[in-house]
């Protein structure tokens, strides 16, 4: 039972962390290596909220807003000139990540920060005492996933985004302002990443380089999911399960590389990853 909960909540956290990256990869076809920096920025929003003595949950909207604004600026000045050079965009966003990380360090120090838990304590759930926050995270992941699905399937922006994902040239010639779609999607992606940063604070320590640790896992999951959020959910479940099982029964060190190695192998065998199913 404990294992099942571990798997489900791990998958939920992975999903929260990678959904913003997925949105950007799907529409812009660009790997946003500044994703880790957005996570960090979000986590520091939680730190700042706590320092101001506000309700820790207020960090969520704040982080989304800050992430979206910073994402908008980054899209305009850095991503836009590199639309046609996707490999260079990886590098430029990585450089942006360094810059953001150093700015955070200069502004708020390099020390590990502690934040109040969003939802402390444990609950007895079907016979086991389990971290209440991890269960809350599971709920939040479902909410984010549902809202993301609704946005994609039911809104005008979602329709435009799907058009751009399928055939950008055609979408542009049909009068869709693809530049604006890219901008908005990038802002949402960065906002979601910052939101994820806040949600990570009860689970991990906050320091200027915290994002990098999550970046590679998120990146590999997105590569396997190939622009489909359903495939991303499936990938999070499968690889999250693998990570938990390997960490529990084999070794935590092998567990930590399970996602990267398994995802690479899956891509080698089936370049489209999970999105085919």
């Amino acid at each position: 039972m404990l294992l099942t909960l571990d798997i489900l909540t791990t998958a939920a956290i992975l999903f929260i962390v990678s959904i913003g990256l997925l949105a950007i990869f799907g529409v812009l076809k660009i790997i946003n290596f500044a994703h880790g920096a957005w996570l960090t920025v979000g986590a520091y929003c939680a730190v700042v909220t706590a320092k101001l003595g506000l309700n820790p949950w207020l960090a969520l909207p704040l982080a989304f807003l800050v992430g979206a604004v910073l994402g908008g600026i980054a899209e305009h000045f850095i991503i836009r000139p590199l639309y046609r050079r996707p490999l260079d965009a990886i590098l430029a966003t990585w450089g942006l990540g360094i810059v953001v990380g150093q700015l955070v360090t200069l502004g708020l120090g390099r020390d590990v920060q502690l934040t109040p838990n969003l939802y402390a304590g444990t609950v007895a759930f079907l016979g086991v005492d389990y971290s209440a926050y991890r269960l809350v995270a599971l709920g939040i992941a479902l909410v984010i996933g549902t809202m993301f699905a609704l946005a994609i399937e039911r809104t005008r922006l979602g329709l435009s985004a799907r058009a751009v994902i399928m055939n950008e040239t055609l979408a542009r010639s049909l009068g869709i302002d693809t530049g604006r779609v890219r901008l908005v999607v990038f802002m949402i992606g960065a906002g979601l990443a910052a939101l994820a940063g806040v949600l990570l604070t009860p689970l991990t320590s906050v320091d200027p380089n915290m994002g990098v640790a999550w970046l590679i896992g998120a990146f590999m999951l997105v590569m396997v999911a190939d622009a489909s959020y359903l495939a991303l959910a499936a990938a999070c479940l499968v690889f999250g399960a693998a990570q938990v099982l390997i960490s529990t029964f084999v070794s935590p060190i092998l567990g930590s590389i399970a996602i990267a190695v398994l995802a690479a192998l899956v891509l080698r065998i089936s370049p489209k990853g999970f999105s085919r199913a």
Binding site: A92, V212, F219, I253, S256, V261, A264
Partner: protein, 602 residues
């Protein structure tokens, strides 16, 4: 075998003494640099000697990153892993056996062999038929992460997170290590310099430009990329060996992903694809970092990050590109492009009797999901035939061509070239059977010169010189004819991207003909060409097939052109082969008229 053709004299600008000077200059410069670096420890303070030793060792993997990324187009973060494996292999063996001659030899051998083996595995994972550049970068990210975790898991063997320290090292003073690092760096840079300026070095750029074209010239892109990865992994491992000895300590971050990104940053700032840029960039940045990061660590990182982003966006060629542009403004900085002399090569293919079956297609069918594109195609083509494949748009002509030249396309039925079934064979192996394919949109190597494009077309027959540039370029007479008729023989030194649409088509045709194929597949070779160019290409094709050695299949819409040159016409309609006969029989048929006027759709 080679006889110099008359075109040769026109093609060479003026055989001056410049080439010889250009050939010896790198050696002279390398020698002088090595000498200067030998003396340098006498004037530098200990701190500088120490830091520069490390910087020069780091510059070696930076050179390998430049070869992979700047030249071959493979963005890699994985060189750090190979460097780390080399360093750890050296440290672990020296730790266990001490710096005895045997211990040192074993450490050196393992520090080279282990990364090379790992490189083979990584290469096999990264490169396969239809793999994408992004995927190779993904794998190169995963490798250092895995290596670092294995180091953590290594316990006493690897020292886990604290690394290894206090092992025996080579018996050198710090000046000795400085000189050793300098000599190795100069040697590696010189070797890389010679390689990228040789004919074989052009193949790296060709891989970056157009991997598909490489495969359709009979080169195996996959094997080249895997061997390159393994070879450069060995070089990085050797640098790791030096590092372990010179610093006396190895730590997990020497193999880490962050070090991998640092290498890429140094190369990008110095100037990818220039070799000297990355070398100087690495040394300058690492030296500056050592001096500045003590006082203002975060500001330094911030500046570096900002500079990196700015360079990637505004100056993708890096600082070396800026210097290069200034250099070319100077009067002596402009060297005229040179090109090899053309020579005719005797036809290598043994004459096949006319009527030998070259291509045999039986019951070929292909579907995308529920959409049937080709169905029940039976076709036999013999030497000396020039078969035109006609039919309206969407009839399946291009799909058929693709099936004929790429056995990994999923299709049912059988296709045999010269009696060999091609099912499952990659394009380069089918080229090896004697099939040459010209694409609908001219597929050449945009950043290579016309001469280099043709050289690569001959590579599967003649090989490529890895140390220099051959003075002559031997081509079959038919390819020379194409060049002469289209005036390309006078433009040999020019980059292919500057050619007009028609000339690119002609160049691609010449490249395919230079392969000396038995069967040549042409997809709309005359699309978008002028009347004169069209006539030229028609004449070339007729000449090629007239002597009965080869067969040609072309997809064509221009019925007048088809009527003029074909020996046989095959009509494809809605994925089926509906007519197969002589020019007169097909052109006069009622069916063709209805198909083309759209009547047969209902």
């Amino acid at each position: 075998m080679l006889e110099t053709a008359p075109v040769a004299r026109r093609a060479v600008p003026a055989p001056g003494r410049r080439p010889r000077l250009a050939r010896t200059a790198p050696f002279v410069v390398a020698g002088l640099t090595a000498l200067a670096l030998w003396i340098a420890p006498l004037v530098l303070d200990t701190f500088a000697v120490n830091v520069l030793t490390r910087s020069m060792i780091y510059a070696v993997p930076a050179v390998t990153v430049d070869l992979l990324w700047g030249f071959a187009g493979i963005l890699t973060f994985g060189q750090a892993a190979f460097f780390g494996v080399g360093a750890y292999a050296a440290a672990m063996i020296l730790n266990a056996y001490g710096a005895t001659p045997l211990g040192i030899a074993a450490a050196l051998a393992t520090a080279i062999a282990a990364p090379a083996l790992l490189g083979l595995v990584v290469g096999w994972l990264s490169f396969y038929h239809r793999s994408t550049p992004l995927y190779a970068s993904v794998i190169s990210l995963v490798v250092p992460i895995v290596v670092v975790q294995l180091i953590y898991a290594g316990g006493e063997w690897t020292g886990s997170s604290s690394g290894l320290v206090g092992f025996d090292v080579l018996p050198f003073e710090i000046e000795g290590y400085f000189r050793l690092a300098a000599l190795v760096l100069v040697a590696v840079t010189l070797a890389a310099w010679i390689l990228v300026r040789s004919d074989a070095g052009r193949a790296l750029v060709a891989l970056r430009d157009n991997e598909a074209r490489c495969a359709y010239l009979g080169l195996n892109p996959r094997r080249l990329q895997i061997l390159l990865t393994a070879g450069l992994a060995a070089v990085a491992g050797f640098a790791g060996f030096l590092f372990a000895n010179a610093s006396g300590v190895v730590a997990p971050e020497n193999a880490g992903f962050l070090f991998g990104t640092e290498l890429v940053i140094w190369v990008a700032l110095g100037g990818r694809g220039t070799l000297l840029g990355p070398v100087l960039g690495t040394i300058a940045i690492d030296y500056l970092a050592a001096n500045l990061s003590g006082d203002l660590p975060f500001l330094w990182q911030l500046l570096l990050g900002t500079a990196f982003v700015a360079i990637i966006i505004l100056l993708p060629g890096g600082l070396a590109d800026l210097v290069g542009r200034l250099w070319r403004v100077l009067p002596f900085g402009r060297s005229g492009p040179s090109a090899p002399a053309l020579a005719a090569r005797e036809d290598g293919t043994e004459p096949t009797a006319t009527d030998t079956s070259i291509l045999k297609v039986q019951g070929l069918a292909k579907a995308y999901g529920s959409l049937t594109v080709l169905e029940a195609i039976d076709l036999e083509i013999r030497a000396g035939e020039l078969v035109s494949l006609v039919g309206p748009n969407g009839a399946g002509k291009t799909t058929l061509m693709r099936c004929l030249s790429d056995g990994t396309e999923p299709f049912t039925g059988s296709i045999a070239v010269g009696g060999t079934a091609i099912t499952g064979l990659t394009p380069n192996r089918i080229v090896g059977l004697g099939v040459g394919r010209k694409f609908q949109v001219a597929s050449v190597f945009e950043s290579l010169s016309v001469a280099d494009c043709l050289r690569l077309a001959r590579a599967s027959h003649d090989g490529l010189n890895p140390t220099g540039r051959a003075a002559t370029l031997g081509l079959p007479q038919a390819a020379l004819d194409v060049l002469r008729m289209t005036g390309l023989d006078r433009r040999l030194p020019e980059p292919a991207r500057l050619l007009s649409h028609g000339q690119k088509q002609a160049l691609e045709l010449a490249m395919v003909v230079a392969l000396e194929p038995r069967l040549i597949l042409l997809d709309e070779p005359t699309a978008g060409l002028t009347k004169a160019e069209r006539t030229t290409i028609g004449r070339v094709l007729k000449d090629l097939t007239a002597n009965g050695r080869i067969a040609a299949v072309l997809v064509e819409h221009d019925l007048d052109f088809v009527r003029e040159i074909s020996s046989r016409i095959v009509v494809l309609h809605q994925g089926r082969l509906v007519l197969d006969g002589t020019v007169e029989a097909v052109v006069g048929s009622e069916l063709v008229r209805t198909i083309y006027s759209g009547g047969a759709h209902g």
